[in-house]
């Protein structure tokens, strides 16, 4: 895995996860059908990190839970999710349970709520291992302590017999990572896994994940609202708005050559260390649309500064407009390398040009 590759995703490696036309709908009691996610398509290759970026309500969590089969039964899921070639959508709960934990694992935002508070931490992980592998208690314990060492928990033997409340937030997230890695999954889904942590702890966890990824070669699907986090730790970014994917490209291409106006608006609105103080942030008016009424046109059109009549009438297709760069827009921003908003000194136009 070479850091900072320009251009498209690693084309050669077979994808670990292939999501095709995934849609998630909910029908609240007595309400209208809510289109939480519509027609998502993306792939994640082994050893790569793909970040799904979006605001709250954009469907990023609903779609990732659909992959894990963790949505309530009332959810209507359609489309295809291939995990190393195996179709996950439509599997029986029992068949799905065999994959969950073993082939694909998930870590959540709140590690405190993901652990059983009345049970010692070590045995909780041992239980997870024994659910998937035929190993004895002693062997499972050995494996847990090994995992604790892997995620750099200090005094792993002693930590095995402690309760969740005895751990700090960062340490608990390390425990969750250990549990997620217990069966060497091919895919790890991290849903806002570091959002609740302090910046320094967040940096530690993210770097630990990257290191484990390098060692174990797993794919990571990172779900976040933080563009900075994606820029620092992902290979590829998928941007979601109102339940749809609106832009997808490698980190360098996306941040250096934004085409979709929504992504550009997001990038412009992020407070940055290199912005001068007291300068107004560029903002777009309005709010994301109501997901119970499916719009005919582009979901961002009502807020978009570039929108024309066509945008409200017909929805632009989410197409690969050039190798490794997908977006859905009738009137995209001009092509060509540019620094990320805010008057950043353009450090090397060759950065985005090299891949093609």
């Amino acid at each position: 895995m070479t850091a900072g590759t320009a251009g498209g995703p690693a084309g050669a490696a077979a994808p670990v996860l292939e999501v095709r036309d995934l849609s998630v709908r909910f029908r609240p009691r007595g309400g209208n059908l809510v289109h939480a996610a519509s027609g998502l398509s993306y792939t994640v290759a082994a050893g790569r990190t793909v970040a799904i970026i979006g605001e709250s309500g954009s469907g990023k969590t609903a779609s990732s839970r659909a992959i894990m089969g963790l949505l309530p039964r009332s959810a209507q899921v359609s489309g295809s999710v291939l995990l190393s070639g195996t179709e996950l959508i439509g599997l029986s709960p029992r068949a799905l349970r065999r994959h969950r934990g073993r082939d694909v694992a998930m870590i959540f935002q709140d590690p405190a709520r993901s652990l059983n508070p009345t049970m010692k931490v070590g045995p909780q992980i041992a239980e997870a291992i024994r659910a998937h592998k035929k190993v004895g208690r002693a062997e499972a314990r050995e494996r847990v302590i090994e995992l604790f060492k892997l995620v750099r928990l200090s005094a792993p033997e002693q930590r095995y017999d402690e309760y969740p409340h005895q751990f700090s937030g960062g340490m608990r997230q390390r425990v969750m990572i250990a549990m997620a890695l217990s069966c060497s999954p091919k895919l790890l889904i991290a849903d806002e896994a570091t959002t609740a942590l302090d910046v320094t702890t967040q940096a530690q966890i993210m770097r630990l994940l990257a290191e484990l990824q390098e060692q174990l070669g797993m794919a990571i699907l990172m779900i976040s609202h933080d563009l900075g986090l994606a820029a620092s730790y992902a290979d590829e970014v998928v941007v979601m708005y109102a339940g749809r994917t609106v832009e997808r490209a490698s980190v360098r291409e996306l941040f250096g050559n934004v085409r979709m106006p929504y992504t550009s608006a997001l990038l412009g609105a992020v407070p940055r260390l290199d912005r001068a103080a007291h300068t107004p942030l560029p903002v777009v008016p309005g709010r994301p649309p109501d997901l119970s009424a499916e719009a005919a046109g582009c979901p961002f059109a009502p807020r978009c500064p570039r929108a024309a009549d066509k945008c409200a009438e017909r929805r632009p297709a989410f197409d690969e407009h050039k190798p490794g760069h997908w977006y859905a827009c009738w009137y995209p921003l001009p092509d060509g390398p540019r620094a990320v908003e805010a008057g950043l000194a353009n450090t090397g136009p060759s950065a985005t040009g090299g891949a093609r």
Partner: protein, 362 residues
């Protein structure tokens, strides 16, 4: 030089933590006295934004509350608009006198939903401070509420009758801002006021706060953990760690030339969009993998020393005091025996130190 709007001197705030049932218990290792704020002094000048940054448990929210005297600090003094809040509190008729003096100091909280009464209409929430200030005339009050809502980008007809649950997070925060403005404050204390909002909404609210600052001549005490966000709004910053100030100074100066190892570590950890041009962050644990010490029994001397890559014997023996670091600009103060040399690149890896290696080798 102009008089500061607010002067806080040597504020100390402590809380006693007990085990279950109020009994100090041996099993609970955190029982004892939490030293939340230990001798913090700061000034805020008219029209200025001072930000306090630090991680969870650094005491930044407690500091804000101590300044408000809610609850009053254990010791120290707060002088606001020339009046000592601390002596007002101690005087016999402190109830009303403290409230009157404090009216020009308003607070906005992090969670927009829980900081608004769920049963009250927006108009009533924003009008309440006016009632408290003795504005009895209903028509006048309605007129003022309408003006206030307009100032924050809402309108009486569309939002006045709604309840908090019928509003979005950004709208709720606007209501909270309107409520704060109702008392015509000189200082607004914003405790993580935009942290829970989505990027685009956050930008809108930040722009609103900035606009109000210039149009109404407000000062802000901005409490936040996000350094990039703080950079956007601040004139000066104060970095806090375990109840003490590590570094304070003009924002540009502190961000460009951090001198305290903790500030360097914080800045290095900020995930930034500029990183896209530099390529992915390298994997591997950070050199300073140490854990934050407990505020119950904070380390002797410098409280950061247990995590600091530059720590030496002196750091445990002597508490560093906030002072001008050699090579720093005026007003840039640092509390460190071995500050990071001025002009050194702001990365932890740039610091280098034997202490870090020992810490991370586990």
């Amino acid at each position: 030089m102009t008089e500061p709007l607010l002067q806080a001197r040597e504020l100390v705030q402590e809380f006693t933590v007990r085990g279950q049932g109020g009994v100090p218990s041996a099993g609970l290792k955190h029982s004892g006295v939490v030293q939340a704020v230990s001798g913090v002094s700061l000034d805020i000048f008219p029209g200025e934004t001072l930000s306090v940054v630090g991680e969870t448990g650094s005491g930044k929210s407690t500091l804000a509350r101590s300044i408000m005297h809610a609850p009053p600090p254990k010791s120290g003094d707060v002088v606001f608009q020339g009046t000592s809040l601390t002596s007002l509190h101690r005087s016999s008729h402190h109830g009303t006198a403290l409230r009157d003096a404090r009216r020009s100091m308003q607070m906005i909280f992090q969670d927009p939903y829980t900081s608004l009464d769920p049963l009250w209409s927006v108009a009533r929430i924003v009008g309440e401070p006016l009632v408290a200030a003795g504005m009895r005339d209903r028509a006048k009050r309605r007129q003022r509420v309408s003006e206030l809502l307009e100032q924050v980008g809402l309108d009486m007809a569309g939002h006045g009758h709604r309840r908090a649950r019928e509003l979005s997070g950004g709208q709720c925060q606007r209501v909270a801002i309107a409520r704060a403005l109702a008392a015509s404050p000189a200082l607004i204390i914003a405790d993580e006021a935009v942290s829970s909002l989505d990027v685009l909404v956050q930008a809108q609210v930040l722009n609103l706060l900035e606009g109000l600052r210039t149009s109404l001549g407000l000062s802000y005490l901005f409490i936040a953990h996000d350094l990039a966000l703080v950079k956007q709004v601040s004139d000066r910053v104060a970095v806090m760690y375990l109840g003490r100030l590590c570094e304070t100074g003009p924002a540009d100066e502190v961000y460009a030339h951090p001198r305290h190892p903790y500030t360097v570590e914080l800045l290095d950890a900020v995930p930034r969009v500029e990183q896209a041009e530099l390529g992915k962050r390298p994997p591997g644990d950070l050199p300073t993998a140490g854990q934050t010490a407990s505020p119950v029994n904070p380390p002797s001397g410098c409280r950061f020393r247990t995590r600091c890559p530059r720590a030496q014997a002196k750091c445990a023996a002597e508490t560093p005091v906030l002072g001008t670091a050699p090579g720093s600009g005026q007003g840039h103060l640092v509390a460190c025996h071995f500050p990071v040399p001025a002009g050194e690149p702001a990365t932890v890896s740039g610091i280098g130190g034997a202490g870090a290696a020992a810490d991370a080798s586990q």
